[in-house]
Structure formats: structure tokens, C-alpha cells
């Protein structure tokens, strides 16, 4: 079963193209949705939820066709928005149970399930408390509970670890992983690449309304690239410019440079360049390509290509 089957999906706001003809088939599983601000992630999520009408193309979610079957899609999915979306004077149990009823559950069943799901997310003790008194972590959990209460096949999670301390973040990711392990498909939109890496097997990267990469995270990190991590005494920028002149991909990560070399090069090119220009290296080692580095590399490459056009 395909989670998404998109064919030349476009969304315009006047002359602005928020989504520029996306074609994509994604199988079931857990998917990270990545992209810089304004990349079109939120627009894509809204379009897939049937909240936005697309301008051109066709889209299917879980086999249901948009926009005709948008209500069926919303019944089959759960959505955890990034920001707060609750009346603070409601109790957690009422909120979650109401979410279940809106999804189409009978009232008594929704109430019973709300207890179960709140227990599952660790809010059993707080279920009768007003939401206004909840901490950020509890609010995130209650939002997750309302997304899960009706047993969705797919859950959209928009920045689920936003505002959480490291312990809360760890717990939330544990929870999401547990949900995933029980056969629920996950789409995780996050700025924190480490979160995506921990939860998802696949990733969709967006930039300027286009999909710049879609596929397995592991394949992305290990696609035959030969990456070296280098730092100099004071000449990082100079070395970067010299290596880029030779057609190499160079990423600046803090005080280090991540340089992608041809697969048969064992770093000789970097060493020779540094020696020729009298640049003193302080750090030189073979590095694993992180998701972050891969992401930045792809986004940079795409942005440069767009600029050239």
C-alpha cells in the first residue's frame, strides 16, 4: 500500500508557487519531512490532509483520492499540529475523547479509548486536569493522544519535540518509536535532524517547493560518498574556496569542513591542496556522512542550481 501517490502536484498562491509539481510514490513506513523554512512542508501536509485545494495534478493518500475522499483520509490519519490547539478550560480526557468523537467514534467508545490513550502517553494521573495547567511536555503528549485515539493508520507529527527539554524529547521520541513499532505509519516533520534520524527510515527533503530527495536515510548517508572532516588553524574559508574551485562539495560545520571526495581518493587531494597553499591542517579524518551533512549538501546543491537557472 502506498502512503502517498502524488503526480505533478502543484499549489499556487497567486503567482507564488508553494509546491512546484511534486511527483512522488512513498511506501508505508516512517518518513521524515525535512526542509528549511518556507520549503513547502506545511503546505504539503495541509494539502495531503485535504485542508488546501491543490492547483494542478493528482494526489492519493492511503489509496484515497484527493479532494473527493478528503474526509476518508482524515478519518484514517491522526494529526499532531506544531502549535497548541486546545481550549485551555477543557480537561485532557474531554479533549481527547472529543477528538475521537469528531473522528467518528461512538461517544462511549471515544471516552473509554481516551482513558486508554492518555494512560499510554503517560498522562493517566493528569487526565481530569484542565489543559491550561499542563507543562509543555504534557501538552505535546495530549496532542499525540488526540491524534492516536481513533486508531489511525498514519500519523502526521509536526515538530513533536518542540519546546521539550532533553529528557522530555527523549521520552517523546521513545513514544513515537513505540507507536511506529505497532504498525502505525509516521510522517515526522522536524527541524531537528537527529529526531528524524532516530524515528524514520525514509526521508523526504524539500526546498523551494520541490522535493530534492526522497528515499532511505541509510542510503542517503551511505551512497558511496567519501567524506573527510578537516579543520585548519585559521584558514578554513581559504581551503574551502580552493577545494570548491576543484569541483568538490565542501560544507562548513562549526569549526570543521566536511569535504566529499571521489570514492577512489583517500584524502590525498586535500593534503596536496593544503601543502601547495601552505595551509596548516589541525584535524584530518575520514568521516561518516551525517543526515545533517547530507541534508545541507543537497539543499546547497539545489539552491545553487536554482540560482544558476
Amino acid at each position: 500500500m502506498l502512503l502517498f501517490d502524488l503526480e505533478n502536484l502543484q499549489k499556487h498562491y497567486g503567482r507564488f508557487e508553494a509546491i512546484k509539481g511534486i511527483t512522488l510514490q512513498i511506501e508505508e513506513g516512517s518518513i521524515g519531512l525535512l526542509g528549511p523554512n518556507g520549503a513547502g512542508k506545511s503546505t504539503l501536509i495541509k494539502t495531503l490532509l485535504g485542508l488546501l485545494d491543490f492547483s494542478r495534478g493528482s494526489a492519493q493518500v492511503l489509496g484515497y483520492r484527493l479532494p473527493d475522499e478528503k474526509l476518508k483520509i482524515r478519518q484514517a490519519i491522526g494529526y499532531m499540529p506544531e502549535n497548541d490547539c486546545y481550549l485551555p478550560y477543557m480537561s485532557a480526557i474531554d479533549y481527547v475523547s472529543f477528538g475521537g468523537q469528531l473522528a467518528g467514534m461512538p461517544r462511549a467508545e471515544a471516552f473509554r479509548r481516551a482513558h486508554e490513550v492518555l494512560y499510554y502517553v503517560g498522562l493517566n494521573e493528569a487526565r481530569y486536569r484542565k489543559l491550561s495547567g499542563f507543562s509543555t511536555g504534557m501538552k505535546q503528549r495530549v496532542k499525540l493522544a488526540q491524534a492516536l485515539v481513533h486508531g489511525p493508520r498514519l500519523v502526521f507529527l509536526d515538530e513533536p519535540t518542540n519546546g521539550l527539554d532533553p529528557k522530555g524529547r527523549d521520552e517523546m521520541l521513545d513514544l513515537i518509536n513505540d507507536v511506529k513499532s505497532r504498525g502505525v505509519n509516521i510522517v515526522l516533520s522536524s527541524h531537528l535532524l537527529a529526531d528524524v534520524e532516530r524515528v524514520c527510515e525514509k526521508v523526504i527533503m524539500m526546498n523551494q517547493g520541490e522535493i530534492v530527495h526522497a528515499g532511505e536515510i541509510e542510503a542517503l548517508k551511505d551512497d558511496g560518498k567519501n567524506v573527510f572532516e578537516v579543520s585548519t588553524k585559521t584558514q578554513n574559508k581559504e581551503l574551502k574556496a580552493l577545494l570548491e574551485e576543484q569541483g568538490l562539495d565542501v560544507l562548513e560545520e562549526g569549526l570543521k569542513l566536511k569535504i566529499t571526495l571521489p570514492s577512489d581518493d583517500n584524502g590525498q587531494l586535500i593534503l596536496e591542496t593544503a601543502r601547495e597553499h601552505d595551509i596548516q591542517l589541525r584535524h584530518f579524518m575520514h568521516a561518516e556522512l551525517t543526515l545533517e551533512a547530507a541534508f545541507l549538501g543537497i539543499i546547497n546543491k539545489h539552491s545553487h542550481a536554482e540560482a544558476e537557472i
Binding site: K46, Y79, P81, D94, F98, L102, M105, D174, L175, D178
Partner: protein, 286 residues
């Protein structure tokens, strides 16, 4: 370990496509009732209907001995004047209750971005509007329809054994109809105002303005025009007064019934229009 030991089990039961509007209405109603101010105000506002009910008892005790004689002598049924006054009192109670508890009906959803919850569920926009309207109507009914049913029912019961029962049935039903119409119109107006802003306090102010300013205008016009009935057309409560006078009493009212009815329908329509406009612009609320 963060995850509770209880396993997550997916819900595999039936999901139905209907009843979303009623669920929203019922939940909204329960939320309104959960406010302490609503409970206290309802207690205070119910003093008026209780007074009405006591008045029915007094009327009965005074007339009880005369009832048979009145009916035998072909006397006329009690007039609808008290019912008209009762309707006015309850409409004012409704305005106060709405000012206290109902103004956030949509503005709170705008403020707290609850639309994201609603529209990520299988819900049409009209179902949301209908549900919110229903919740407000249920709340309003507590000070309009419910007391009217009590008072009207009691009056009917007391005159049940006389020939007046038919006339009183008509009075009670007319009163109920006017209060239903009034509650519908006022609910639509409040929904409209509430959909204009995310600040509930502004809704409260505008609601009080919508009720009070026309009453003042109506008084000014009435003074200037030496108490003409047409002065009542300036205010919503005045229009309801004109309708109740026309339908419940035999007093001569110089304004045709269609005028206040048209104005009330127009006000309700304006409220519905404002809500429709807001909701049609809710594209992509997530």
C-alpha cells in the same frame, strides 16, 4: 522508561460519518456549563422564571374559585400580556447569559487555534458552524425555552379543566415560538460577532453594544415621536416586543407584523453571513 507499560492497541471499531455537528454542539454546551460564572448566572437568571412560576400559582389561587364561573359565564380567557412580559424578561436574561458565557463561541477557537483540531478530523465546515450554533442555542435555551415550557405548561395545567385551555395552548405555543425565534436570531448574531475577532473581550463589548445602543436609540426615537410603536423597530428587543404584542395580546400595534419579523430575520441573516464569511476563509488552518 517513558512509555507506559500498557501497550498501545489500535482502535479497530467502527467510525461513522455522521453526528459531528451534534458532537460539537454537545461538547460546546458542556464547556459553557463548566464555567463557574455560567452556573452562578443561571442560578440568578432562573429566579425570574421561578418568579413567573410563583405568579402562575398566585393567579391560580386567586382565580381558582372563579374559574368555573368565568367559563360558565362565557368570560374571556386570560390575556397574553403576562406572557409578553415574560418573553421580554427572558430575552434580556439571554443577552446577559450570552455576554457572560457565550461570546467566545468562535473567537476562542480563533484565539487558541482549535480549528486545527476540528479540521484535521473528518468534518465539513458547515458541520462546525452548525455544531457551534447548536451549542450556543442549547445554552440560550436554558433561560428561554426551558422556563417557557415550565411556565406555559403550568398555565395550561391550571386551566386544563376550563374552556380556556385552547386559547392558553395557543398563547403558550406562540410564546414558545417567539422565544425559539429570538434565541435563534440572538445566537446567530452572537456567532457572527464572535467570528470577527480572536479577542473575546471585544466580542463581549460589541455584543453589549449591539443590545444596548439600539435600545437607547429606540428610547430617543420613542420620546421624539411621542411613543410611537415604530420606535421599537430600532432595537432587537423592541422588535421581539412588537412580535409578542401582535401575536399574544389584543393591544393595537400600529406596525405591521412583517416589519419586526423582517428586521429580526435580517439580523439573524447578517450573523449567519459573518460566520459563513469567516469559515470560508479557513483554508489551510493547520
Amino acid at each position: 522508561m517513558a512509555i507506559h507499560e500498557q501497550n498501545y492497541v489500535r482502535y479497530e471499531g467502527d467510525l461513522v460519518d455522521r453526528g459531528a455537528a451534534f458532537n460539537i454542539a454537545w461538547t460546546s454546551f458542556r464547556v459553557f456549563l463548566s464555567f463557574t460564572r455560567t452556573k452562578l448566572l443561571l442560578l440568578a437568571l432562573w429566579l425570574l422564571p421561578i418568579g413567573g412560576i410563583i405568579a402562575v400559582f398566585i393567579e391560580y389561587s386567586v382565580r381558582n374559585s372563579q374559574l368555573g364561573a368565568m367559563a360558565d359565564a362565557g368570560g374571556s380567557a386570560p390575556g397574553g400580556g403576562p406572557m409578553a412580559v415574560f418573553i421580554q424578561m427572558q430575552i434580556f436574561s439571554l443577552a446577559i447569559l450570552y455576554a457572560s458565557s457565550g461570546c467566545g463561541v468562535i473567537s476562542d477557537d480563533l484565539r487558541y487555534r482549535t480549528f486545527q483540531l476540528y479540521f484535521s478530523k473528518p468534518l465539513e465546515k458547515y458541520e462546525y458552524a452548525l455544531g457551534k450554533f447548536g451549542g450556543l442555542f442549547f445554552l440560550g435555551s436554558l433561560v428561554t425555552l426551558l422556563p417557557a415550557l415550565f411556565v406555559g405548561g403550568l398555565r395550561l395545567a391550571f386551566y386544563a379543566r376550563t374552556d380556556f385551555v385552547g386559547d392558553l395552548m395557543l398563547q403558550s405555543l406562540s410564546g414558545l415560538g417567539i422565544l425559539t425565534g429570538g434565541t435563534l436570531v440572538m445566537s446567530a448574531m452572537l456567532m457572527g460577532l464572535s467570528s470577527l475577532t480572536a479577542h473575546t473581550r471585544y466580542v463581549v463589548l460589541s455584543w453589549l453594544g449591539v443590545i444596548m445602543v439600539p435600545i437607547l436609540l429606540s428610547i430617543i426615537v420613542s420620546i421624539a415621536a411621542e411613543g410611537t410603536d415604530a420606535a421599537n423597530l430600532w432595537s432587537m428587543t423592541g422588535n421581539l416586543w412588537l412580535v409578542s404584542q401582535k401575536l399574544l395580546t389584543e393591544d393595537e400595534v400600529t406596525v405591521p407584523l412583517i416589519a419586526p419579523l423582517g428586521i429580526l430575520l435580517g439580523l439573524g441573516g447578517a450573523g449567519v453571513g459573518m460566520v459563513a464569511r469567516r469559515i470560508s476563509r479557513l483554508e489551510g488552518v493547520a
